[in-house]
């Protein structure tokens, strides 16, 4: 009888210890995974973000009737200042956009007016594209505004990818949740799905033509698709990009709009 009691006691202790060990292991593993995920997200930021940059890009919008390509040049400093000038087509040439501390102004030579875009208008499409003003304005680092965890691993376009799930930790954000397929070797997202807080899929982005530019990987082509509207999506192609350039401060002033 004593033997049975002792056995029971030992068994209970063994189970308790095993459970504790498993819990510790699990917690440590989750913590390590989260750490890995944070590291990956920081590496993505290192690839995509910069102190400042000068970009020349084209945006091809696939409409139901015709396609349009808009070429623009942008000067960006950190995540607070950005200035864009549209170069072509002729109807858009000379139109300029200025972002300063979360505020956005547009100037057009045809009306010779500077108009501030604010509120719900920021969620509107830019020139019929699949991108909103909010999308174009938000240059914040992903690691600053999202909590992240690894959801799994997969293969995409013959490349090994880690699937990250990002959940916003700030309130002023367009997409509460994101799912990101990150190239394991190059730490660059190859595909992104952006969701609303309700869980509705709002946008999808596919990154193509990943190139090595100044010791970083950068996608030359991003195909955006607004999932709430018909159409074939919008192609955003980076024609040229120069990181960490000297940008004169007067560029980021309202005077430079005119």
């Amino acid at each position: 009888m004593k033997l049975i009691c002792s056995l029971k006691r030992y068994t209970a202790k063994a189970i308790g210890l095993a459970t504790l060990a498993l819990t510790l292991l699990n917690t440590t593993s989750a913590s390590l995974c989260a750490q890995d995920a944070v590291t990956i997200l920081k590496r993505i930021d290192e690839n995509l973000s910069s102190k400042n940059r000068i970009t020349e890009s084209s945006m091809t919008i696939y409409g139901r009737r015709s396609n349009r390509t808009i070429v623009s040049k942008s000067w960006t400093e950190g995540d607070k200042k950005s200035f864009t000038e549209f170069i072509s087509p002729a109807s858009e040439a000379g139109t300029k956009m200025l972002k300063l501390d979360g505020q956005l102004w547009i100037y057009t030579p045809s009306a010779d007016r500077t108009i501030q875009i604010s509120g719900h208008l920021l969620r509107q499409s830019v020139m019929g594209s699949d991108l909103s003003y909010e999308d174009m304005m938000d240059d914040r680092k992903l690691s600053d505004i999202y909590n992240v965890k690894i959801e799994g691993r997969d293969t995409l376009d013959s490349r090994d990818v880690i699937i990250l799930e990002l959940t916003a930790n700030v309130s002023d954000i367009a997409y509460y949740r994101q799912k990101m397929w990150v190239d394991e070797q190059r730490n660059i997202p190859l595909k992104q799905e952006m969701y609303a807080r309700s869980g509705q899929l709002l946008k999808r982005a596919e990154m193509k033509e990943i190139k090595r530019i100044d010791n970083r990987w950068y996608p030359s082509l991003v195909i955006y698709k607004d999932m709430l509207k018909d159409g074939k999506g919008t192609e955003f192609r980076t024609i040229s990009i120069r990181f960490d350039q000297q940008i004169p401060s007067h560029i980021f002033s309202k005077a430079s709009l005119r």
Binding site: S125, M127, G128
Partner: protein, 426 residues
């Protein structure tokens, strides 16, 4: 026999006066209420047709699927050609180009910086052509509370509420910011020529009415338009004719519609959101009116008939005693009811018609009651005079009189000859 009964009705006022007054009153009310309700509903439908739906509307197939969002990127191209085709196809209809749009009105300060912004809903119509009836359809001149009608390109009318909110006076400029037909930035400077008060909050919150050529320039829609509206020549909505035209047009373009999402497609007012219910309701008004008054008046006249029959109890007794058959007495009673009903209905219709005519000409100003209305409703309501106005009163007038007397007269068949002689004290 009928002549005999008519003489009886005319000479025996106790038999006919009260029923005629009751029938005439009921008939007058029927005519009045029918004309009022059809007038109010008809005016609402007409105003909606003028502002939004037309009696017929032509769009591209793709536009028609999202027409409530005014997708001008799917607008009709070469609209003038299509208008010419439509004029040949159905010359009696007035075909007009329209551009509907949603945009942002940006009011500048003295330095040209944004002073205030508001979303606006716009109507672009043909304001300047001499032969255009569009300004009348929108009742623009009467709706102006400050300023004047646009006289040249670049001048627009904005809602008075919008003007008050941003302290805008006629003569001041603002910028319309939206999307061109191709999806590009649309910035267009406009000058306020006057401010409008339509009397419907849905419109008065942020309406802009501008000339179609200005809108075409602003939104890069040269010779394009979102919608072509058709207005039939009839004074009152003629849905049957509109339906026939629609079917003919769509048959003509059916092959193109099956392969090309930009093929023109025609719909009627009924096919547009909420309008079918509104039209059906208006059509049902006469039936509802007839039913209510037949029911109410049948009860009143039944009571009157019973009183009359009681008063004429001795008369029927004598007639029965003289050998007149019960059926003959009953039929003569019904014939009398028919004559009294017809006379009462005629008098009621004539009186009702003159009241209806007065309200039709002068109208009733309901603007103070419609300040919070979200529907496009007319501020001055008028009665409608339609062919139905002339006969609608006869239906309850005659039917209820005959029904009332038929019910009251059933007592004749219950009279027993033995009791009759007893009652007559023979």
């Amino acid at each position: 026999m009928k002549r005999f009964l008519l003489k009886g009705i005319i000479n025996d006022k106790g038999r006919s006066l009260l029923p005629i007054i009751v029938v005439a009153t009921g008939t007058m009310l029927t005519v009045l209420l029918y004309s009022w309700l059809t007038g109010v509903m008809g005016e609402s439908i007409r105003v909606n047709a003028n502002f939004n739906t037309g009696e017929l509307k032509v769009m591209t197939l793709a536009y028609s699927k999202d027409s409530d969002q005014f997708p001008n990127d799917l607008a009709i191209l070469d609209a003038s050609l299509l208008i010419n085709d439509l004029k040949e196809f159905e010359p009696t209809v007035d075909w007009v180009k329209r551009v509907r749009f949603g945009a942002l009105a940006d009011f500048p300060d003295s330095l040209g910086e944004t002073r205030g912004q508001a979303p606006v809903i716009g109507w672009a119509i043909d304001i300047f052509s001499k032969e255009s009836l569009e300004s009348q359809r929108f009742n623009l001149e009467s709706s102006i509370v400050n300023g004047e009608m646009p006289k040249r390109a670049g001048e627009v009318l904005i809602s008075n509420e919008l003007a008050t909110k941003f302290n805008v006076q006629p003569g001041e400029s603002f910028t319309l910011f939206g999307s061109t037909m191709e999806g590009g930035f649309a910035f267009y400077n406009l000058k306020v020529s006057g401010t409008l008060l339509f009397g419907a909050s849905g419109l008065d919150r942020g309406a802009i009415v501008m000339d179609i050529e200005d809108a075409q320039r602003a939104f890069g829609m040269e010779d394009a338009c979102g919608e072509i509206l058709g207005f039939l020549p009839d004074k009152y909505l003629n849905m049957d004719n509109a339906e026939r035209i629609k079917v003919r047009f769509n048959n003509l373009y059916s092959q193109q519609q099956s392969t090309d999402e930009f093929a023109p497609v025609m719909i009627t007012l009924r096919d547009q959101a909420g309008m079918a219910e509104m039209v059906d309701y208006t059509d049902a008004v006469s039936s509802i009116m007839v039913f209510i008054f037949v029911s109410a008046m049948a009860i009143v006249l039944w009571n009157g008939g019973l009183l009359g029959a009681l008063r004429r109890y001795s008369e029927f007794g004598i007639r029965l005693a003289m050998g007149e058959s019960k059926g003959h007495i009953y039929r003569s009673l019904l014939t009398e009811a028919l004559i009294i009903g017809a006379i009462g209905s005629l008098i009621g219709t004539i009186i009702g018609f003159f009241i209806v005519l007065y309200i039709n000409v002068h109208g009733v100003d309901m603007s103070s009651m419609m300040q919070n209305s979200t529907m496009v409703m007319p501020s001055v309501v008028r009665t409608a005079i339609t062919p139905t106005t002339y006969y609608i009163g006869f239906i309850p007038g005659i039917f209820s009189m005959v029904l009332g007397n038929a019910l009251a007269g059933l007592g004749i068949y219950k009279r027993q000859t033995a009791r009759l002689f007893n009652e007559l004290e023979v």
